[in-house]
């Protein structure tokens, strides 16, 4: 008894230390990358590049955050890139037809919400695996978006709208502020409300959660809606940044979002994840891409490096889990 007690006491300490260390390691990795790049190239630590990097990372960071809610329920949302691309079309069309900016944004976010509700409906009522239903929206949303514009790109002429992307506040790019605006409530939600707890419970064991009185289906609606609304928000930001609406935008963002989440310590088996993890993960990926560009590394290498990083980090995480 005493030996097992001591052993598990150590295990608790080890686990807490580990979680802390993992977050620290990720942050350390990010800092090491930054330091190495500032030494390697004079073009890295410049007034132009750093805000640019933050803007690049911001969009993926928000997608990864929404994605993380879904992954914690042991699901997956492959549609986030397509939702973002589709939503650039939606907001561009709305602005073109003279809808006020604030209303256009609200309507676009509601479109995202509808998509998220549709995903949860497919999963809970039609019994479709999350992978399938979100894969289906991934392809069909791009098609719908192209149909709506007849394949054309819609420009956004409202200067007040597009200038937001290049602006900054306290010399931090506005787009990065958007990450903070999304991340703070997300943190409170995931770590300090019962709904956050229920998301973990559903991801860990939906049957046990149900028998404890958790509305499992409602939680799935919540998680997929959050992911889709975050993706719609990224669509708005993308439209702001590039000043166009085109359904083919944000191609492959879903994989970057999933990769960021996983690099940030989210378990694809569910019930393990945080808010800070995917954020750091997204900026690590953004830094690798940015650095590779600056160093004139063949852009194909960026993809290879990203893949290697995913394998490495998840492998170490598995080692830790098995060792416990």
């Amino acid at each position: 008894m005493t030996t097992t007690e001591v052993a598990s006491k150590e295990a608790v300490r080890a686990r807490r230390n580990y979680n802390f260390l993992f977050a620290l390691t990720l942050l350390g990795l990010l800092i090491v990358l930054w330091v190495a790049l500032s030494i390697a190239t004079p073009n890295f630590m410049t007034d132009r590049n750093i805000p640019n990097l933050l803007r690049q990372g911001s969009l993926i960071a928000i997608l990864a955050l929404g994605q993380t809610f879904v992954i914690i329920t042991a699901g997956i949302d492959l549609s986030v890139g397509a939702v973002a691309g589709f939503c650039t079309v939606v907001i561009a069309l709305l602005l073109q037809s003279g809808v006020p900016v604030w209303l256009a944004i609200v309507i676009t976010l509601l479109v995202g919400l509808a998509i998220g509700i549709f995903h949860a409906f497919g999963i809970t009522k039609m019994g479709l695996p999350p992978f399938i239903i979100t894969l289906a929206t991934l392809t069909s949303l791009r098609g719908i978006g192209l149909l709506m514009t007849n394949g054309a790109t819609i420009s956004i002429t409202d200067k007040s709208f597009t200038s937001f992307a290049t602006g900054d506040f306290l010399s931090i790019p506005n787009l990065f502020w958007m990450v903070i605006v999304v991340a703070l409530p997300s943190y409170v939600f995931l770590s300090h409300t019962r709904w956050g707890r229920y998301i973990f419970a559903v991801g860990s064991n939906p049957e046990a959660a149900r028998l404890s009185g958790v509305r499992v289906q409602a939680i799935l609606y919540l998680a997929y809606s959050l992911s889709a609304v975050f993706a719609a928000f990224v669509g708005v930001l993308l439209a702001v940044r590039l000043g166009i609406g085109n359904a083919t935008q944000a191609d492959g963002y879903e994989l970057q979002a999933i990769a960021s989440s996983v690099i940030g310590g989210t378990s694809l088996f569910g019930a393990v994840g945080s808010v800070h993890g995917p954020l750091i993960g997204a900026f690590i990926l953004a830094t690798i891409n940015n650095g590779a560009n600056l160093l004139n590394v063949n852009s194909f290498w960026q993809r290879i490096i990203t893949g290697g990083l995913i394998i490495l980090i998840v492998f170490f995480d598995q080692l830790r889990r098995r060792g416990r």
Binding site: K9, Y198, A201
Partner: protein, 505 residues
Amino acid sequence: MTQATIGGEGVAARGPILELRNLSKTYGPVQALKPANLSFNYDEIHAIVGENGAGKSTLIKLLTGVIRRTGGEIFWNGTAVALDTPQEAIDHGINAVHQEVVLCRHLSVAANIFLGDERMKFGLLQKRQMTREAQKLLNDMGFNLPAGEMLGNLTIGQQQLVATARAALRGTKFLIFDEPTAYLTRQEAAQLFALIRRLRASGVTIVYISHRLEEVFELADRVSVLRDGNLVGTRDIADTNETELVSMMINRSLEQIYHKEVVPHGELLLETRNLSGRGFEDVSISVRRGEIVGLYGLIGAGRSEFVLSLFGRNPKTGGQIFWKGQPVDIRNERQAIKLGIALAPESRRDQGLNLNLPIGFNLNLPIYDRLTRGITISPREEADHANKQIRDLAIKTPSRRVLASSMSGGNQQKIVIGKWLNHGADLFIFDEPTVGVDVGTKAEIYRLLAALLKNGAGIIMISSYLPEVYELADTLHVFRSGRLTGSNPYHAVSHENVLAEAIGV
């Protein structure tokens, strides 16, 4: 016949094919099989009987190399063997046919029979040849099964026959059947018995594990009885009878730990009238405050399905439920919880716990709405409620942050119960609360039941362990094949009668 028969009576020149000497298995502090001496002869059908948790599956797993023994020796044809891996068991010719068929549902019958031992020519599968050979094999065995059919299209019973044919093909010398007739029709069972006799005639030793004593008497040459991990004894089938076997299966040694509290019965909490649903039919019971209602029966007899229906997990198809005198329709779990019903379900792993989350999380899961202040959860109250249960239930953990998966069975059960103590309820339903739990924790759980009764709760307790429900329940209902066979007030009948009702002898 008071001594266990050990060794080969009635064996001619040859010794036993398999002999166990002081074989034992412990899991941590739990002794799943106490040192046992047992021998299996050539050409015999050796039945093994015992209640759930008596150690039958441990014995099977030891014999098939799935788990390693803790102590003792195993002799195969007089030679000591390790039997440490499934492959080693198969190499010797030891095979098992399990209750749940472990074959590939999406392959044909023939492909399953030859799985891992396919007929090949030039590196290509000889499908037609295999189908032909498989069909011949099945026909020879008297099974009317199509070899080309996909396995998943057959009934469970037919799949069982395929699994047996597969084992028979592999030069098996020692074949273990684990509750093979659980899902079979009478006709399929008769076919299986004929095959088993034929296998014996061809020199295969058969170990036959079953709850159904009538099958044991129909089939077996000898029978061994397990109880609480003890090998109680072995009998020649001609020298024994059902009464003796039943009394050997029942344990009285734990009686002293039962803590029966007689509390005056109060308000009528729950009543069902002719309740039916998936897996049970026509069940009428009632529970009052201060009363323990025991539901006894074998696993799969419909007890768990019945209480899941009471808890709103599965819909009822007929009958009525009354809660405190009012007719109610319990459509989901939340509604049941709101009425004041709590369920500690049968499977801790699959239904009771969020294993990869902390103990405190599990304990608080039903009450997170109450712990919420404004929008956020009060961290202090969250800690207080978890720590109170950990303290009150003596859950052996250094912290509420430890994951539930790292706890022992007994402590996990306490967490499952603790979450409902945290929440509170009028009616507590405990489904197999003491399975896989050590004796000390069992006693703690019994004391806990007594405390709940004193506080005015009513309890429904499901158990496959007869002495437990027999001693604790005020009213004992016996389930068999989804129906109640009868209801007996406390100690109105003997153990033997209750067990006989449950297994239908």
